[in-house]
């Protein structure tokens, strides 16, 4: 078997990112869409860790920690919005969440 190079990790990360993109585009349940966004952020974190190892520089891991912090903030606010919206409209389908559309 070939040795594992950074390209292997990059392909894994790209595939995981694509699964996230697919989830955002295909699913209609807003909670699943949020989880797909988390998948994409994870793929980005794998990328940062790979390059951090490849370049022998820990700055990539520092940025991955910032990504995790922002993901936590995003999840908290997004889920708060989902709860508030659900109380008003009783739906989670993004096709019906269109009151801000012109």
């Amino acid at each position: 078997m070939l040795p594992i190079t950074p390209y292997h990790y990059l392909v894994l990360s790209a595939a995981l990112f694509m699964i996230g993109v697919m989830g955002v585009m295909v699913r209609r349940n807003i909670i699943i869409i949020f989880m797909s966004i988390e998948l994409m952020l994870n793929a980005v974190n794998i990328n940062l860790a790979v390059f951090s190892q490849q370049l022998q520089n820990a700055a990539g891991q520092v940025f991955a920690i910032f990504v995790i912090a922002v993901a936590a903030a995003e999840a908290a606010v997004g889920l708060g919005i989902i709860l508030a919206f659900y109380r008003n409209k009783e739906t989670l389908n993004i096709d019906e969440i269109n009151i801000l559309k012109w």
Binding site: M1, L2, P3, I4, H8, Y9, V11, L12, A14, L16, M18, I19, V21, M22, G23, V24, M25, V26, R28, N29, I31, I32, F34, M35, E38, L39, N42, N45, I46, A49, V50, S52, Q53, Q54, L55, N57, A58, A59, Q61, V62, A64, F66, I68, A69, V70, A71, A72, A73, A75, A76, V77, G80, I82, L83, A84, Y86, E90, T91, L92, N93
Partner: protein
Amino acid sequence: MLEAVVFYTLAAFILGFGVLVVTARNTVHSVLFLVANFLCVAVVFVMLAAEFLAIIQVLVYAGGIVVLYLFVVMLVNLKRPPEAPLDTRRQSRAGFVLAAVLLAELSAILVYTAGRPAPAPVPGPAVAAGTGNTEAVGMLLYTDYLVPFEVASMLLLVAMVGAIILARKDV
């Protein structure tokens, strides 16, 4: 050899759980698959010699964020299925096509750059001998990246206040 076996097994698990997260009918199952996915990604971080990141991944993602998701899934008990199909056929097809185009683009970039020699290491600030990954990350976090670190803490505070206000009863 061992590394290859571990990597391919982990990659299969990560991608499999990712697909299950996206395709699961039941949202609770989806959240549980997300936990498994995050744990596998944490093992990948260990393979990449980023132990501190792996611990953060398990504590913050698998421990904190996913519990938040589970709470919301449990709080919004749907009386009707959330995805009553309107005209999802066309939308799904467009989503598949767009995602395939993006994957082709990323693969093209990878193939294009694969032949080049690996870039030379860009060593960070010198770390004292005998210290590990956590010391290196902590050193960077509290010296070079102190201002972004404080901004991130501010962001988390604002997000906390915003989430509490949004989730209040009388919004």
